[in-house]
Subunit: 214 residues, 2 copies
């Protein structure tokens, strides 16, 4: 019998701790999604090793520009990889490129990202550091759909994390990462079971009352 589970492509540039968390959840055959492939713009990404260990196909897309937005030609390569494999959901896990082009058109409403703050606070590259420097007492993380804004897409899940007086960037990041892994896996599960309903900017979670009772 063919595997009917939701087909996920993960895009990562670095360490890939969220990739690891999601791939780990997908190893359970009762989890409603599986990771089809890892795509990276960084040939030295530790995520590549994780993929190899897990038997997950991986692709290194040699990116023609050093930083920032992904050139359209490179986005098209990723589109091609995903479409050929029947990918249902694209998960960004520390992918350090801004998507603006064809990937967004072809996978609209099917791309998720995670951000290490409670958006809309502290957008951008160094969210955890910004939260600390601002003096926030509560921070957290956000899983959101990706749209043409930077860190501005509709929010799927958020989790709060207390900022303690003795927290530095590293200790706060650790607490945030832990919550990230939890809510990112949950968001993939919700998507894979068709339970996310986007209405304008609000994302409703269907069947929230009974789904955990089975």
């Amino acid at each position: 019998m063919p595997d009917q589970r939701c087909r996920v492509a993960v895009l990562a540039s670095g360490r890939g701790s969220n990739f690891k968390a999601i791939a780990g959840a997908c190893r359970d055959e009762n989890f409603p999604a599986r990771v089809i492939c890892l795509i990276t713009d960084n040939p030295a990404a530790p995520a590549l090793e994780l993929a190899a260990d897990d038997g997950i196909e991986s692709f290194t897309v040699p990116v023609t520009e050093k930083k920032g937005r992904l050139p359209e030609a490179d986005e098209l390569k990723i589109v091609d990889i995903c479409e050929k494999r029947g990918v249902d959901l694209i998960v960004l896990a520390g992918f350090m490129r801004i998507l603006k082009g064809p990937l967004l058109d072809r996978f609209e409403g099917r791309i998720m990202n995670i951000h290490p703050t409670l958006l809309p606070s502290f957008k951008g590259l160094h969210g955890v550091r910004q939260a600390l420097e601002y003096g926030a007492k509560v921070s957290g993380c956000t899983v959101h759909f990706v749209d043409r804004t930077v860190d501005g897409g509709a929010i799927i899940l958020q989790a709060a994390v207390p900022v303690d007086d003795d927290d530095d960037e590293n200790s706060l990041l650790q607490k945030v990462n832990k919550e990230e892994h939890r809510i990112y896996v949950e968001a993939v599960e919700l998507f894979a079971t068709g339970r996310l309903l986007q209405e304008g900017r609000r994302v409703r979670i269907l069947g929230n009352d009974f789904s955990r009772k089975g």
Copy 2:
């Protein structure tokens, strides 16, 4: 023996539910602060009744401009009321005026405000509605020191509140208000016992490890 507790003036324009929470806490003689007076810019503020019921002196400062910033002459009246009564701490509880002038100079680092979101998200007048419209999944409230910015002063305490799919502005506001009353009372207590240490934008809470053990 004279009452040595921290002397608080509350400024409110409306309903005054935070005023009520703080005045309620202060009724306990073991609480380290007491409300000396209520000052309002609104002769119809329900907070005035609450003050009368509690035997708290109150002042209605007739404000010469309809909205927004408090004119300097009116701020001076409030300064005068507070200084004559040896006020240690000014607590804004739904005070719908922006302070920019002499009150800030004379009471710098001794004025607190509460905002019904997790700042810096959703500043301004309709924070709860903004959070809902943005599609936030976690919101909350913030007690902060007042400085010359709008809702931008150093953060003293924050509390998170989950936003549920069926929340509207009213139901979310109720949840936020409940947390507001809790953290505002706690912030006054921390100030009154000298346990707030502002370092740049971060406010540290002294003696956090043992204070609850007694």
